[in-house]
């Protein structure tokens, strides 16, 4: 009798864990505005780390099936989130292209869990899957028409191209950590961030800086008028119950919050 494959293990109910990372506003009205739902693979497997997990899933060509599984897990786990926080979920661009019923699936799932459509943000992740884009555009339009926010992930790196910006016209540009890390003291990174911020203003979009790990970088992001920041400096990903600490009193956020660490997942 052969052992189950890693894919079989991943697709078992309950094998995935959802954690949430707060995203902070950097303007005058500071505080947590929404959280990103993140997935961790099973303990004791090579797929515990999200980067390996999703690379494996993409190599198996199972993005569509897996995205549904992840969204189901994130939305179910979000039940313990403080009211009023937006919830961001990651979806492969290829899933939106090929899974025509995905918008309905997501909206029904959210509705059943008491999450209103305007409280949802679909974070589009792209990894080089070539497609015409007709299904993708229709899916994005369907989500947007029903009040769901759209974010483009990994802006400035990877496959998040200008074409994709035009195709999905995101409300949020999520800037890859590669451009954020070390932006303090690096005029070239600052120039790129400033350029993205300008581009976002043209789109009437907001910018989220990912991977903020240093206070100096955070201050540089503020000076560049980046709208939101996310990263270990501010808060580690944690279970929904832990995020209750952000429930109402988040407007007085200071970088001292970085001293707060999430409990073990």
């Amino acid at each position: 009798m052969s052992s189950p494959s890693l894919l079989d293990v991943l697709l078992r109910p309950g094998s995935l864990q959802a954690v949430f990372q707060p995203i902070f506003a950097l303007g005058e009205d500071r505080g947590v505005r929404f959280v990103e739902g993140l997935i961790r693979g099973p303990f004791g497997t090579n797929a515990r780390e999200a980067s390996v997990l999703f690379e494996y899933v993409r190599r198996k060509g199972k993005e569509v099936e897996f995205d549904r599984l992840c969204v189901r897990q994130v939305v179910a786990s979000a039940a313990g989130l403080p009211a009023g926080l937006g919830l961001s979920v990651n979806i492969h661009a290829s899933t939106l292209e090929y899974d025509r019923s995905f918008p309905d699936f997501l909206l029904h799932l959210a509705e059943a869990s008491g999450i209103p459509a305007p409280g949802l943000i679909v974070e589009i992740v792209e990894h080089g899957q070539g497609f015409s884009g007709a299904g993708f555009s229709a899916a994005v339009r369907s989500l947007r028409d029903r009040g769901v926010g759209v974010a483009l992930d990994d802006v400035g790196c990877g496959q998040s191209s200008y074409r994709r910006m035009l195709d999905c016209q995101p409300q949020y540009f999520k800037v890859d950590r590669y451009l954020v890390h070390g932006c303090h003291g690096d005029p070239r990174r600052q120039a790129i961030l400033d350029s993205i911020a300008g581009l976002a203003r043209t789109f009437s979009s907001r910018v989220v800086a990912e991977g903020v790990e240093r206070t100096a970088d955070l201050e540089t992001l503020r000076q560049l008028e980046i709208d939101f920041a996310q990263g270990f400096l501010l808060a580690e990903p944690g279970p929904a119950s832990w995020l209750a600490v952000w429930s109402t009193d988040v407007s007085g956020y200071t970088p001292a919050i970085s001293a707060v660490a999430a409990p073990p997942e």
């Binding site: 189950p4 494959s5 890693l6 004791g44 090579n46 797929a47 390996v52 690379e55 190599r59």
Partner: protein, 140 residues
């Protein structure tokens, strides 16, 4: 194929320089023995039983060396050769060893053309494999 379900046993002896090694092998017993022995020799060992799992790991984990079996399926596969090519392309500094019970001059020539560092027959004395790995990773 339990390699992805077993916890890491790759505990290097205290103070030893621990090189990270990936074993790509679909037979549980062989994978277990390699992990156990190489861990005791001071390597930090990961195991993968599928090509895609191994490729995903190589894309995100810096390995000093990859030891791949030629066949990861029961048919006439040659996933080990694909793995060698993948490592050469995505982690050119990583050393590679191909293990095979189905060796032939043609297979060895093909593996060489893909940039493998060594082709070894199965079964392979574990001590010799560990010695070769040490020589390869410390030659870097």
């Amino acid at each position: 194929m339990l390699s992805h379900l077993t916890p890491c046993l790759g505990e290097a002896p205290e103070g030893a320089l621990s090189h990270k090694i990936l074993i790509v092998e679909d037979e549980d017993s062989i994978s277990f023995a390699l992990r156990r022995f190489l861990s005791m020799r001071g390597f930090d060992v990961d195991c993968a039983s599928e090509l895609e799992e191994a490729q995903a790991l190589v894309a995100h984990v810096p390995y000093a060396a990859v030891v791949a079996d030629l066949r990861l399926t029961c048919v006439h596969g040659a996933e080990g050769l694909e793995m060698i090519s993948h490592v050469r392309k995505h982690a050119p500094g990583t050393r590679t060893i191909l293990l095979t019970a189905y060796g032939s001059p043609e297979i060895e020539a093909e593996a060489r053309s893909r940039g493998v560092d060594a082709v070894l027959p199965k079964p392979q004395p574990l001590g010799e494999l560990a010695d070769l790995l040490t020589a390869l990773v410390e030659a870097e």
